[in-house]
């Protein structure tokens, strides 16, 4: 059904006649010129919907967000659209806010702790699954489940597992003789709790990418190494890890960009609380804009734009690394 609509749209497009009208033989160079112009027009017809879409639904929302962050909005002026321009005031407000420091720190801790453990676990599992034992493909597929589940499903499941009185995690701690932890309600543990849940969600992504990277390392290298008497750890250190470095760089940078913007998980599990104990830039931005009865759209958008800036730094680094690898 979908595809039929693509077709109808395509056939109705006026540029289509440009490409089909070049059948007759005339002067060769004129024909070729016409053909080239025709194919240019055709290419444009194929790509124009996407360009219009990106402008309307990416660029314009981003522009609106920038505009929000540069004006002094109240609920009324938000609806009427006549808020006065206030320059960088919102950014100043946000930077002076006592929540800024903690939110920034939590964002960094959340991001780096998550990707460090996700990467380590993903790499260990990738090397393990690369041994090609029975059931390995099936088990590897099952490992994808946490990544495919809707975040609200994972977040609410972990919330209940972390429950102070009746959660299965405190029960497990009790079994090994440790005292229970007030996971989601204590300022000391809330951030750790969401990091643990996020590591669980991110392991499959790391596993799949690193595993596919391992497939490109020639097996002869390992054969030669074991003939030379290298043990498993030596092989990992001297062959696997160095040869996997390009893939590792890509995995870590992509993980960084994705983890910086994690919002759902934290919002559903703790709403950034208790207090600011687990608030990151993402949850704080949402809290400012939508979390209270008196929304502060301007500062909220300002925090969002700061987040974009950080994401872009790592994003451009990722693009650079990827381009260099392809070259």
């Amino acid at each position: 059904m979908t595809i039929a609509r693509v077709d109808r749209r395509a056939q109705r497009s006026p540029a289509g006649s440009g490409a089909t009208g070049t059948g007759q033989r005339t002067n060769t160079s004129a024909l070729r010129r016409r053909q080239r112009r025709g194919s240019r027009l055709t290419a444009l017809a194929f790509i124009a919907p996407l360009v219009v879409y990106l402008a309307a639904f990416y660029l314009y929302p981003l522009y609106r967000n920038l505009d929000l962050s540069l004006r002094d909005y109240t609920v009324r002026s938000f609806v009427q659209g006549d808020a006065p321009f206030s320059g960088l005031d919102n950014f100043r407000t946000v930077l002076d806010d006592p929540t800024f420091g903690p939110a920034m720190r939590h964002t960094l801790v959340f991001t780096f702790a998550s990707i460090a453990f996700q990467y380590a676990a993903g790499l260990a599992l990738a090397v393990f699954f690369n041994r090609h034992f029975r059931l390995a493909p099936t088990l590897r597929a099952l490992f994808l489940i946490p990544w495919l589940l809707p975040l609200i499903v994972s977040a609410s499941t972990w919330s209940w597992m972390f429950n102070s009185e009746s959660g299965v995690i405190n029960y497990a701690l009790h079994l090994v003789g440790m005292s229970p932890v007030d996971w989601l309600n204590s300022p000391d543990w809330a951030l750790t709790s969401v990091v643990i849940a996020n590591i669980w969600i991110g392991i499959p992504f790391n596993l799949v990418i690193l595993y596919s990277g391992l497939q490109n390392i020639p097996g002869e290298l390992y054969e030669a190494a074991s003939l030379d008497g290298a043990g498993a750890w030596q092989q990992f250190r001297r062959i696997t890890f160095p040869l996997l470095r390009p893939v590792s760089a890509i995995t870590l940078l992509l993980g960084l960009v994705y983890t910086l913007k994690v919002f759902d998980l934290i919002w559903i599990m703790t709403k950034g609380g208790p207090g600011d104990a687990s608030s990151t830039l993402a949850t704080w931005s949402y809290q400012l804009g939508f979390g209270t009865l008196l929304p502060k759209f301007g500062p909220g958008a300002a925090v969002g734009n700061i987040l974009i800036l950080i994401a872009l730094v790592f994003g451009l680094l990722y693009i650079r690394v990827q381009r260099r690898q392809e070259a």
Binding site: F46, L135, L142, L151, W160, F290
Partner: protein, 273 residues
Amino acid sequence: MKSRTGKRRYTVIGVLLTALMLFPVYWMINVSLTPQQDMRKTPPDLLPLHPTFEGYRAVLNDQMPYLGTSLLIGLGTVALTLLLAAPAGFALAKLRPFGGGVLGLVLLIAQMIPGIVMAMGFYGIFLDLGLLNSWWGLIIADSTIAVPFGVMIFTAFMSGIPGELIAASRIDGAGTFRTFWSIVLPVSRNALVTVSLFSFLWAWSDFVFANTLDGGGDLRPITLGIYKYIGNNNQEWNSIMATAVVASIPAAVLLVLAQRYVAAGVTAGAVKD
């Protein structure tokens, strides 16, 4: 012989690791079957020995409209994504359009923009246009998660289609549109499946856009159904977890039916073969 027992040991360890990894999923199912009076028992029942279906009855009573809405929004997002991404991917792969390289870069960067920022921008726009709380407004917003990914998958896949195939179709007198429709699309089935799967799954799982743009609508998706359950300070965790189990069904179906497409989607763009 030694290596065979060694391999068997790997299988055992692998099964144990997988069990550990999937424990939260098991626990979700276990809690969904636990009777309310046993919910806060110490120690908790590790097996659903006295299963109850009251949680699933609550899903049937409360959550069917939410599930229907999610299905509608998921399918709508797939349609919109394919409509935009497949032709654009073809153009970028085969027609060398003006500014194609820049467009590729724009798509990469688009994927890095945090969802909450987009949500805030959309909120202002939808408020102006009166699109808040409408299901098709949500389809537009959800499609922004999938379109850049879709274009990149289609571009990568269609670059691999041999030029001779397209040239042959041209010689037979087919125009570009006809070539796209009857030659390129049919051989791109794998890319179509991958993009459809992911755009459906992402729209189905979306929480940020739903909560921001459709918080008070008549047709709300299942993610908000669950969120409302939790938010009401609901202590009926079997109902919450039963809803979570039902909301996970598309993910499970996709994994069973289309495992290789899923792995292909995860690695696409990240690793070059």
